[in-house]
Symmetry: C2
Subunit: 185 residues, 2 copies
Amino acid sequence: MSRKYPVIHAIRKTRHSRFLHTEEVDLEFSNGERRTHERLLNSGLGAVIIVPMRDDDTVLMVREYGVGLDHYELGLPKGRLDQDESVEQGADRELKEEAGYGAHSLIRIGELSLSPAYMTHVTSVVLAQDLYPERLEGDEPEALEVVPWKLSELHTLMAREDVTEGRSIAALFMAREYLAGRYRP
Amino acid sequence: MSRKYPVIHAIRKTRHSRFLHTEEVDLEFSNGERRTHERLLNSGLGAVIIVPMRDDDTVLMVREYGVGLDHYELGLPKGRLDQDESVEQGADRELKEEAGYGAHSLIRIGELSLSPAYMTHVTSVVLAQDLYPERLEGDEPEALEVVPWKLSELHTLMAREDVTEGRSIAALFMAREYLAGRYRP
């Protein structure tokens, strides 16, 4: 991959996060054990991850820089929902912003969490089919490269070093099982 | 499922998290766009998720309460590594603590991230085979129920409401593709 990495000008520890907020929960288990567990709060609006199918076996993925791992990750389009937006509307918007396609068919095929142990985040998985070209301007700092991949080749996809995100890999297999008629949510 | 949920005695917003720490990164993309992105720091020790195989087609899962979603999640055993512990040692320990088994064979078959966009966390996926009963006392507030599942039945597993974690679902498919001889990390 030839894309030039962003330059990191500075890194600062933050005492008060702008968007990562936490709370403590005092728990008493049924055996009487007591624990205080911390959890990370989400935006409250929900999130979507989209599996966009260009044809029956070709999914469109995007390469996007992620500062968490400081690398370009190859994954599925995704994002947080806006206020007053349905899951399907949000999926269609993110798909237009990140991949340059709209979808005539949007089907919710499941929900994925990040880490039930300490995160409240839930992401709806949306299968997008019957695509047409349409681009919306998003808040991305740069255009994302769109990479087609065969659903029949997920075993070679997961061997790539730039494919690491659990939700993307899980959503791809959910879509494959759904399209094969084996899985129904 | 008959397990009684923990009682929540109190929930408090936390201004200073005990273990969720963040930093800000000033970025300049190759097109000159500048952004400041925030990311969540990890423990620095790494983490493991284990796919324990009781036989060639039976994986052992655990049901564990997660305060993030306030539910009992059915997922794979996992946990953070301790200081000076290798991935294989940590996998073996967590398996003994959470499922009551050790493994004669521990193979690292990949790495999964939570969210490259704002999380620095990476979890090693370890396939555990040739199991034997051995329990270690962990820091769990209660014993975890162990649930066997067929790798050939992942499409019915993902339809369950208590199976939501992206990393667990991804790791199960990675193990299935690996055991079928299709995927090599």
